[in-house]
Symmetry: C2
Subunit: 193 residues, 2 copies
Amino acid sequence: MYELFFEEFNKKVPITAEEQEQIKHYLTPKKLRRKQYLLQEGDVCKFIAFVEKGALRAYSVDENFTENIIQFGLEGWTISDLYSFLTEEPAVYNIDALEDSELVLISKSAHEEMLQTIPKYETYTRLNITGAYLAMQRRITTIISSTAEERYQDFINLYPHIAQRVPQHMIASYIGLTPETLSRIRKKLSSGK
Amino acid sequence: MYELFFEEFNKKVPITAEEQEQIKHYLTPKKLRRKQYLLQEGDVCKFIAFVEKGALRAYSVDENFTENIIQFGLEGWTISDLYSFLTEEPAVYNIDALEDSELVLISKSAHEEMLQTIPKYETYTRLNITGAYLAMQRRITTIISSTAEERYQDFINLYPHIAQRVPQHMIASYIGLTPETLSRIRKKLSSGK
DNA sequence: CAAACCCCTTGATTTAAATCAAGGGGTTTT
DNA sequence: AAAACCCCTTGATTTAAATCAAGGGGTTTG
C-alpha cells in the first residue's frame, strides 16, 4: 500500500520504523480507474499524490480545447497542482489516470502538520521539490534551444519506457509538438536518416 | 550588506536577531563588475548567490555559440547552477553580471551546515525552491502552448521592469525567440494591431 | 459482431518564426 | 574626436513545424 512511497522516502532521507509509523497516519491510499479524474481545473487542489502504481498526467486546456500536458506521473513520482495546493486558489491543471492506478495522497493539513512535527519530512519535501525543479530547468533549457527532433530524442533518452505506456499524441503534447510532426520525426529516426 | 537577504528571509520564515547573527557567519559578500563572470561552464558551482543589488544572468552556450538565457537574477532573487552545486559536477551554465552587482554567497559547506543546524534555514530553502519550481512550471506551460507574441506579453506582464534593465536580445533569448522576431512583435504591439 | 472510437500515419498546403543581410543610432573605447 | 562596438530595426527569403484532410488499423462499446 505504501511500499514504494517509503522506499523513495528512505532513498532521500533514511527514517526509523517509528518515524515511518508516525508518517503512515498522515497518508491516504486512493485508487483511480483509467480516465478517472483526480483533479479538475477550477477545483482547489487539496492533496499531493504519490504514484505507487500506474500512470497519471497533468494538463491544462486552452481556449481551443487543446490539451497541453505539463507532467506525467508514473510509479515513484509525485504529482499535484502545487500552486493551487499551496495557495488554495482554483487549479489550472487537470489530473487524470492513463491506466488503473494506486496512489498515496497527502492532504494540506497532513502536509503542514508533518512539516511542523517531522523534520525529516521537511527534508524529504525539500529534496523532492529540488529534484522536480532541476528536471524542469533541464526541460526548459531543452525546449528553448532545441529542434523538434532534438526534443523528442531528449525525451526518449530521459524516459525510455514512457513511450510504451503513454499515447504518442500525449508525448507530442508534452514536448510541445503536434502528433503529425512527432509521427514524421519518428519515421525519420527509425529509418536512420 | 545583507539587508535584502534577511528581509526576504523574514518574509518566508521570521527569525530572531540571534538566529540572524548565527546565519550571518555563513554568508559571504561579493561584488561583481559589469560583464564579470560569477561562474563559467565546466567549473563546479560552489555557491548559491543571492542578489542584493544589480542584475545577473545564467545562460548556456550551444554548439553554434548561441547563448540561451535560462534565468535572470535581479534584486531579491537567488541564482546558481543548482545541479552542479548539489552534485559537484561541472556546470553547464555560465553566470555573469549585466551591471555592477552586490551578492551574498552561500558556499556548499555553509549550506549543508545550516541545513543541519538551523531548522528555519531548511524551511527557507524549501520555500525558496518551491517558489522557483512554480515559476518554472508556469513558464513551461507558457512556452509549450503560446505564440511568440503571447510569450512576450506574458514576460512583460510578469516582469514589467526587467525590460528597462536588460537588452532586448537577452529577453528574446530567455523566451525562446530571435531578436528580429522580438523586434517585430514589439512594433506590432506598440502600434495597437 | 458491428458500430463507434481512438491512435497513428501520410500528403498537401499554410504559416509563424528563423535566417540572412543591411543599416541607423547610441555607447564605449582608444 | 574618431574608431569600434553594441543594440535594435527592417526587408527579403527560407524553413521547420502547424494545419487541414484523409485513411488504415486496432480497440472498445453496445
